[in-house]
């Protein structure tokens, strides 16, 4: 019954989405009065999809083995949290989560949006419902999560043990909030292009959604990076895996949008450009979903391989992105540019930011899709990895980070003050850092060396916009910007330190033997068997010391039986200045064990930087929402006038 209720809710939601589409068309033909019900329907549609998803959670929580999806992805012996999380750890469930967030975002837009004109809001809600309809169709036709299995088996097949980790419970939903939050920016842009109302008001309505989505994307990418770091046991934080790029590309586009939307909100300029970015950002989310969910890539993440679904998703992608670009081409040229600005101004700074981010997005996009393109054309198989991405994106990212220090100091419209003078102290810090790395570590490569230098400069430059201001009177958004930009410097320092000073040791050790790595002496005490709820393991006991104090690390190799799998559980010890990362490998014939040890100085700063960037976004969002609240009354009056005119 539960599964049927979920399926019924899904069908109803799809029907409502289709109805919203027709309402939108009616409204655009001038009969706005007919479409007054749009808000209410959007809210009901969101509620129905939420019910559908809740039903899926319930069948997973109860391990209902008459549902095919549960059988394929769960097992009665799994810890409860992973039973529930298993609901979205698979293709169908994650697509349902996707469309649920999409519909609920539409409902929230209907509930809270007071800033755009009614016509634009109706068009945007219609666009959002049109997006949802395609994905409802995808679920109902090609990926029904509630399909029954008869006869029901006695036991499920289990969940990939790599996914049985707290990271799984947190990571995909976070990214999806980000992906799908961008859908609202997309729908608002499409709505405004349809009604020819691209203006500062629209930008202010769109901004909280973009900020919110961007915060989730930032958190999702940071968490995903840490998950890969400790769970895969390869000691790296970013592999340029296509699935990682699938989350990076929407983030790059959203970052550009986040900056250009401020120009539109404050100055009414960059209209076409901002609408374009809103379309591109969500298109990148859909490309990401397509790449991950179609199983088209060679990747550790590509679990499902099903060409039919891939084709369906590709068709959806082509229709939505194609239609949005056609609309943009028809309407974009007629948009009037807002207030003019001069070559040296805040606006120009943000344009440069956007151009560099777009170029980075372009090279990541080409590099990620190139293997698919080549295989489709010539049948040859190839992969594009870190050497390419680091080469083309690394220097651009460094240039961008250097410019981040300058942009916020510029004033709107035109800059007459000698801005570069303010940067004397940061520039001196950057040069000092450069000189220190040359003296202390003459052997390191150029990119990490410049990374240290830019990080030192940016750490100082990013807080300059706060100087000379009353901290209590400074808007939260300005604080947020400074914190986020400071976060870039922190992450950059972590990456440079990791690239330049990581020490690694790979060797075979018997019990009692000592290995040195970086400043550490690590002694293998013993290897003993141990067990958990649904796994058994071999666990090494390592005694590590650097001068004073001894710490114990216990890396494991775990064996899961359902499905039969081995995973390596790294033991990681965090210190203020780095992490000691240990892995146990295979036994050798002479009674020794393979051990892999890393000393990674300041590696944690990479994720701390990511968290700071997200925190900066959160501060800005809080500030913006607070301002919106204060202005709401005026807006509500405005709204009533339109409504009852």
């Amino acid at each position: 019954m539960i599964a049927e209720a979920g399926l019924a809710a899904l069908w109803l939601a799809a029907a409502l989405a289709a109805f919203q589409m027709t309402l939108m068309i009616t409204a655009l033909r001038g009969e706005v009065a007919v479409a007054r019900t749009m808000r209410g329907i959007a809210i009901v549609q969101g509620a129905l999809s939420l019910i559908s998803f809740a039903m899926l959670l319930l069948v997973f929580a109860r391990t209902d083995l008459s549902v095919a999806l549960v059988v394929e992805n769960s097992h009665s012996a799994k810890p409860f949290i992973y039973k529930v999380a298993g609901a979205w750890g698979n293709h169908e469930g994650s697509m349902l989560l996707w469309v649920m967030i999409l519909a609920v975002a539409g409902a929230f837009l209907g509930l809270f949006s007071r800033r755009t004109s009614e016509r634009t809001l109706i068009a945007a809600l219609g666009a959002q419902a049109t997006l949802a309809l395609g994905f409802y169709a995808f679920l109902l036709i090609a990926s029904n999560p509630f399909a029954r299995l008869s006869p029901a088996p006695f036991e499920g097949q289990g969940l990939n043990p790599l996914l049985q980790d707290p990271g799984l419970a947190f990571h995909p939903p976070t990214l999806y909030f980000g992906y799908v939050g961008l859908s609202v920016a997309f729908s608002l842009a499409v709505g405004a292009l349809l009604t020819n109302e691209v203006d500062a008001r629209l930008a202010r309505a769109m901004r909280p959604w973009v900020l919110g989505a961007w915060i989730f994307l930032t958190l999702g990418i940071t968490a995903g990076s840490y998950w890969a770091y400790y769970e895969l046991g390869w000691g790296g934080y970013w592999f340029w895996d296509p699935v990682e790029n699938a989350s990076l590309m929407p983030w790059l586009a959203a970052t550009a949008l986040l900056h250009s939307i401020n120009v539109l909100a404050a100055r009414g300029a960059l209209k076409a450009w901002t609408m374009m970015l809103a379309v591109v950002a969500f298109s990148m989310s859909m490309v990401g979903t397509f790449l991950v969910r179609s199983g088209i890539l060679t990747s550790v993440h590509a679990f499902a391989i099903d060409p039919e679904r891939g084709t369906f998703l590709l068709a959806l992608l082509a229709i939505y992105v194609g239609a949005a670009f056609v609309l943009f081409a028809l309407r974009g040229a007629t948009l009037k540019e807002g207030a003019p600005f001069e070559l040296v101004s805040r606006e120009s700074g943000l344009v440069v930011n956007n151009l560099i981010l777009s170029v980075i997005l372009g090279v990541v996009f080409v590099g990620t899709l190139y293997p698919l393109f080549v295989e489709a054309v010539s049948g040859e198989k190839l992969s594009v990895g870190a050497p390419y991405f680091n080469l083309v994106a690394g220097p651009l990212a460094l240039v961008l980070a250097a410019l981040v220090g300058i942009g916020p100091l510029l004033s709107w419209r035109r800059e007459r003050r000698p801005v570069l003078k303010q940067l004397t102290v940061p520039a001196l810090l950057g040069v000092t850092a450069l000189v220190i790395t040359v003296i202390v570590a003459p052997g390191i490569r150029i990119l990490p060396r410049l990374g240290f230098s830019v990080a030192a400069y940016l750490a100082a430059a990013s807080i300059l916009p706060l100087f000379g201001r009353n901290p209590l009177r400074t808007p939260l958004a300005t604080w947020g910007m400074a914190v986020a930009h400071f976060g870039i410097a922190v992450a950059l320092f972590g990456m440079a330190a990791n690239a330049a000073f990581t020490s690694e040791r790979l060797a075979v050790a018997r019990a009692g033997e000592i290995l040195d790595v970086g400043p550490w002496r690590v002694q293998l005490q013993d290897v003993t068997p141990t067990a958990g709820k649904n796994w058994t393991a071999l666990e090494a006991e390592l005694k590590a010391s650097r001068g004073q104090g001894v710490i114990i690390l216990r890396p494991q190799t775990r064996y899961f039986s359902d499905p039969p799998t081995e995973t390596s559980e790294a033991a990681i010890e965090t210190f203020w200045n780095g992490q000691l990362y240990t892995i146990i490998g295979k036994p050798d014939l002479g009674g020794g064990w393979q051990l892999r040890l890393w000393w990674k100085p300041f590696v944690t700063l990479i994720w701390a930087g990511g968290a700071l960037i997200a925190l900066g976004g959160a501060l800005a969002l809080a500030g913006r929402l607070w301002l919106l609240r204060r202005r709401r009354k005026a807006d509500a009056d405005d709204w009533r006038q339109v409504r009852y005119a």
């Binding site: 990939n160 199983g295 151009l355 372009g362 080409v366």
Partner: protein, 146 residues
């Protein structure tokens, strides 16, 4: 600047950015895309020595030997038609086994494939897409041999 000129400048800047991105990507991809080969391709000399490539195949039964240092292994990768010797220094991934599929990243040096990374399937269901056909072909080849 007049609004009209401003728009023109912005359009030109956007077009230039797109062009730069494409040119930069083409230049970067020229010798940094690593091609995927099978042992038969290697035997036919398709892979240039020293250039980063990927090698996919099945790990030959009984071919894994461990070297004296305990962390270097040698094994033979096969696709049923040809064989390539591989050396790898490191901890092999979970489920890297004789008789199952694997992909190695590395380069050809003196007729041996020196792997930097080895990817194996992560669970019973996961198979690198490139190996999907290969496994089927390999099975077919085996039946022919018999």
């Amino acid at each position: 600047m007049k609004p009209k000129n401003q728009r023109l400048v912005l359009v030109i800047a956007a077009a230039a950015a797109a062009l730069v991105a494409v040119l930069l990507a083409m230049w970067g991809l020229k010798d940094r895309a690593s091609y995927f080969y099978t042992p038969a391709d290697i035997a036919a000399g398709k892979a240039e020595p020293g250039k980063a490539v990927r090698l996919g195949g099945m790990v030959e039964k009984g071919s894994i030997t461990r070297q004296a240092d305990g962390v270097t292994i040698r094994f033979v990768m096969t696709d049923g038609k040809a064989e390539t010797p591989v050396t790898f220094r490191g901890i092999t991934p979970d489920l890297f086994r004789e008789g199952s599929g694997a992909v190695a990243e590395g380069r050809i040096e003196n007729g041996t494939f020196v792997a930097d990374t080895i990817l194996a399937k992560h669970d019973e269901r996961y198979m690198p897409p490139e190996l999907g056909n290969l496994a089927a072909e390999h099975k077919a080849g085996k039946t022919l041999e018999k």
